[in-house]
C-alpha cells in the first residue's frame, strides 16, 4: 500500500497534463514503513531533454535519480517510487515497464490527454518479476 496526499496526486496529474503529449516523470519521496510506503513529497524531473532522448524511453537517468536521492537524504527521506504519465494511453504498465522495474518501489502511472488527467493507478512489481500488481493507494487529505 502507498499512502499519499490528495494534493500530491493532483501535482502528479497536473504535471502529466502539462507535459502532454510527452511523458512526464518524477520521484516519490517518503518513507518505507510497516504499512507500506508513505509519500511525503513529489520530486518532478525536468522534461527539458533532447527529442532523441524523449524517444529512448528512459525517463529518469541514474544521474537524476542520484540527485533526487541526495535531495531526499537531506530531508531524511528516501525514494519510495516513481511516477510517470501515459499520454493518451491507459494507466497500466506495459511489458517494457515490467522489464525495467524493481519490486518494492511504487510505480504510479497516470493516463493523460491534452486537457486532463484520467485514471491514476499505482503498481508494484511481484518479487519474482513476473508481473505488476495493482497497489492500493490510500489517499489522505493535505
Amino acid at each position: 500500500m502507498i499512502t499519499i496526499a490528495n494534493e500530491q496526486l493532483n501535482e502528479i496529474r497536473e504535471h502529466g497534463v502539462r507535459d502532454h503529449p510527452y511523458e512526464c516523470c518524477g520521484l516519490l519521496l517518503g518513507r518505507f514503513s510497516a504499512e507500506g510506503k508513505i509519500v511525503q513529497e513529489t520530486y518532478p524531473i525536468s522534461n527539458a531533454r533532447e527529442e532523441s532522448a524523449k524517444r529512448n524511453r528512459f525517463l529518469i537517468t541514474p544521474e537524476e535519480l542520484m540527485r533526487g536521492e541526495r535531495y531526499a537524504r537531506g530531508r531524511d527521506l528516501e525514494v519510495v517510487g516513481f511516477y510517470h504519465s501515459h499520454p493518451d494511453c491507459p494507466a497500466v504498465p506495459s511489458q517494457y515497464d515490467l522489464e525495467h522495474a524493481w519490486p518494492t518501489y511504487s510505480y504510479i502511472i497516470v493516463s493523460t490527454t491534452a486537457d486532463e488527467a484520467r485514471d491514476l493507478f499505482s503498481w508494484e512489481q511481484e518479487p519474482d518479476r513476473s508481473k505488476f500488481n495493482p497497489e492500493e493507494i490510500r489517499v489522505i487529505r493535505g
Partner: protein, 484 residues
C-alpha cells in the same frame, strides 16, 4: 580486496535487509558476482536471463558509471564503494495488455460478487471493470444514500463523496446511509463508515467541501463518472457544465414531493442538462424539498435508478438512459419516459458553445440577487429572541404565519394568525396596518416573499420578517416547538 556495495532500498529485502554489504573482489563484475552468490534472490533484479546486467541497472564505482570505464572488468581497490542505481523507464501500452491490466479479484471478492459473476453480462471481466472504476457522488443526502450504498455493494473500486453538511434529525426519514447514532456527525464521515461496513474491499475518498466553480473541475477529473444527488439548481447546472467540460457522464436524478426524474447526461453521446433546461426556473418558483416536502422512499427509488445506470456505464452496457428522461410519480406509481435531443445551439455542449469555463451559478440562477434584495425594498428583520422579548414586554404587535395549514398542525408560535402565502394578498384586509406586523414561515424565505407581495399590493403598514422562521424560534426561544 574489500569493497562496499550499497544496496538500494527496494532490493534490501533480497539482501537480508542490509543496506551495505562488503565483498572481496578485483573487478566490479566480480564484486556483483560475489554479492549475488551470497544473496541469490538479488540476481534476477540485476541480471537478465543472458547473465548480462539489465539495461536499466547502472553500476557506479565511486560515482563513475562503469560503462564509461571498462564495464564489469573495471578494477576495484580497497575501500571503493559500488552503487547500484536504476534508470526509470516509461512506455506506452500495447492494447492486448489492457484487459490483463484490470485489477484481479481476491477469493473473498469472488465469493462476495458471485451473483454478479455468474451473469455473462457482468462476469469476471465486468466485475474487474467495476473494481477499476471510480465514481464521484455529489451529496450524501436522499439520492446519494442509495447510490453510495449500492455502488459500494456492487464493488465500484473507488467512490468519492462530496458533502459539507452534518446529519440532522430531519434527514433520517430518507437518507438511509445515516443513522440515529450519526446525528450531528459530518455526513461524509457517517457515509464513509456505512460504505466501509458494506464493503471493506473498496476505496472511499471523502471531500468535505461545497462543490464550487473553483473546485469542481479538479474534483471531477479524478473520477470516471459523476452522480448528481444535489437538491438545488445552481449546483445542478454546475455539475452539468463541469461534466461537459471534463467529458464525464453525469448520472442525474432529482426529487420533489412524490415526483422523481432520472437521466444520463453525457455530452459526447447525447443531450446535457442544459439541452433539456437551457434556463433555470425563476428563483423561488420551484420549492426545495425542505419547503415542499418529499416522500422518504422516493429518493430511494430514483437513487437506485442512478446506481443502476452508473453500473451499466462501467460495464459498457448499450441501453443507457442517454437522450431519455424518466419521470416517476410515486403517488400514482407510474413511470413515463420522454425522448431528449441534443440541442445544437446548447451554450455548453453545442457546436458553437459559449461557455468554456465554469461561471457563477448562484448568479446564473438568480439566487444571489434573490437573496440580496435591492436597497429600496430592503427587508426589515427581527430575530426570534428579540421577537420574544417584545412579546414579553407586551408590545402591540401581530404575528402572521404564512405557512400551509398542515405545517401549522405540526408546530406553531403561540398567538399567531395563519394566512398561507398564496392567500396573503387576497386576505390583506385581515392584517391591521395600524399595528406592527411580524411575518414568519418555516425558515424565512416564504415570509420574505409574502412581505414583498404585500408591499407590491399596496399594504401600508410596517412589515417585519422573522429571521430563520419558526425553526429559529425553536432553536433560540422555545425548544418545545417541534422542528420539521
Amino acid at each position: 580486496m574489500p569493497v562496499t556495495i550499497s544496496i538500494p532500498a527496494p532490493l534490501r529485502q533480497f539482501a537480508g535487509g542490509q543496506s551495505q554489504i562488503s565483498v572481496e573482489a578485483k573487478t566490479a563484475g566480480e564484486a556483483l558476482d560475489q554479492l549475488t552468490s551470497t544473496h541469490a534472490a538479488l540476481r534476477r533484479h540485476l541480471f537478465n536471463d543472458q547473465n548480462a546486467l539489465r539495461n536499466f541497472v547502472n553500476v557506479y564505482l565511486n560515482d563513475e558509471d562503469i560503462r564509461h570505464a571498462s564495464g564489469p572488468d573495471t578494477p576495484v581497490k580497497d575501500g571503493d564503494t559500488i552503487m547500484i542505481v536504476p534508470s526509470i523507464a516509461g512506455g506506452a501500452v500495447i492494447e492486448s495488455e489492457v484487459a490483463q491490466s484490470l485489477p484481479e479479484l481476491s477469493n473473498e471478492e469472488i465469493l462476495r460478487y458471485s451473483r454478479h459473476l455468474i451473469m455473462p453480462e457482468v462476469g469476471m471481466q465486468g466485475q474487474r471493470k467495476l473494481k477499476a472504476a471510480s465514481v464521484l457522488m455529489i451529496g450524501t443526502g436522499g439520492l446519494g444514500a442509495p447510490v453510495g450504498m449500492y455502488l459500494a455493494a456492487a464493488g465500484v473500486g473507488r467512490i468519492g463523496i462530496v458533502d459539507f453538511d452534518v446529519v440532522e434529525e430531519s434527514n433520517l426519514q430518507r437518507q438511509i446511509i445515516h443513522g440515529t447514532k450519526d446525528l450531528g456527525r459530518k455526513k461524509i464521515e457517517s457515509a464513509r463508515d456505512r460504505l466501509r461496513d458494506i464493503n471493506p474491499h473498496i476505496e472511499i475518498e471523502t471531500h468535505e467541501a461545497r462543490l464550487t466553480s473553483e473546485n469542481a473541475l479538479r474534483l471531477f477529473r479524478n473520477y470516471d463518472i459523476i452522480v448528481d444527488g444535489t437538491d438545488n439548481f445552481p449546483t445542478r447546472y454546475l455539475v452539468n457544465d463541469a461534466c461537459v467540460l471534463t467529458g464525464k457522464p453525469n448520472v442525474y436524478g432529482s426529487i420533489f414531493r412524490f415526483e422523481g426524474q432520472a437521466s444520463v447526461f453525457w455530452a459526447e453521446k447525447g443531450a446535457c442538462y442544459r439541452c433539456l433546461y437551457p434556463e433555470p426556473p425563476p428563483p423561488g418558483l420551484v420549492p426545495s424539498c425542505a419547503e415542499g416536502g418529499v416522500l422518504g422512499v422516493l429518493p430511494g427509488i430514483v437513487g437506485a435508478i442512478q446506481a443502476n445506470e452508473t453500473i451499466k456505464i462501467v460495464l459498457g452496457a448499450e441501453d443507457l438512459m442517454i437522450n431519455r428522461l424518466l419521470l416517476f410519480d410515486a403517488w400514482t406509481m407510474k413511470f413515463r419516459e420522454f425522448k431528449l435531443r441534443k440541442d445544437p445551439k446548447c451554450p455548453v455542449c453545442g457546436e458553437n458553445a459559449t461557455i468554456k469555463e465554469l461561471i457563477d451559478y448562484e448568479e446564473f440562477c438568480g439566487v444571489a440577487a434573490h437573496q440580496a434584495p435591492q436597497p429600496e425594498t430592503k427587508l426589515e428583520e427581527i430575530s426570534a429572541t428579540e421577537l420574544n422579548a417584545r412579546r414579553l414586554r407586551g408590545d402591540k404587535i401581530q404575528i402572521i404565519d404564512v405557512r400551509e395549514p398542515h405545517e401549522f398542525e405540526i408546530a406553531r408560535i403561540p398567538g399567531t394568525k395563519l394566512i398561507p402565502l398564496g392567500h396573503v394578498v387576497g386576505r390583506m384586509n385581515e392584517i391591521d396596518p395600524e399595528v406592527e406586523t411580524i411575518v414568519h414561515c418555516k425558515g424565512g424565505v416564504r415570509s420574505a416573499k409574502a412581505i414583498q407581495a404585500l408591499k407590491r399590493a399596496g399594504y401600508q403598514g410596517r412589515l417585519i420578517n422573522l429571521k430563520g422562521g419558526i425553526a429559529a424560534w425553536s432553536d433560540d426561544v422555545d425548544p418545545r416547538v417541534a422542528k420539521y
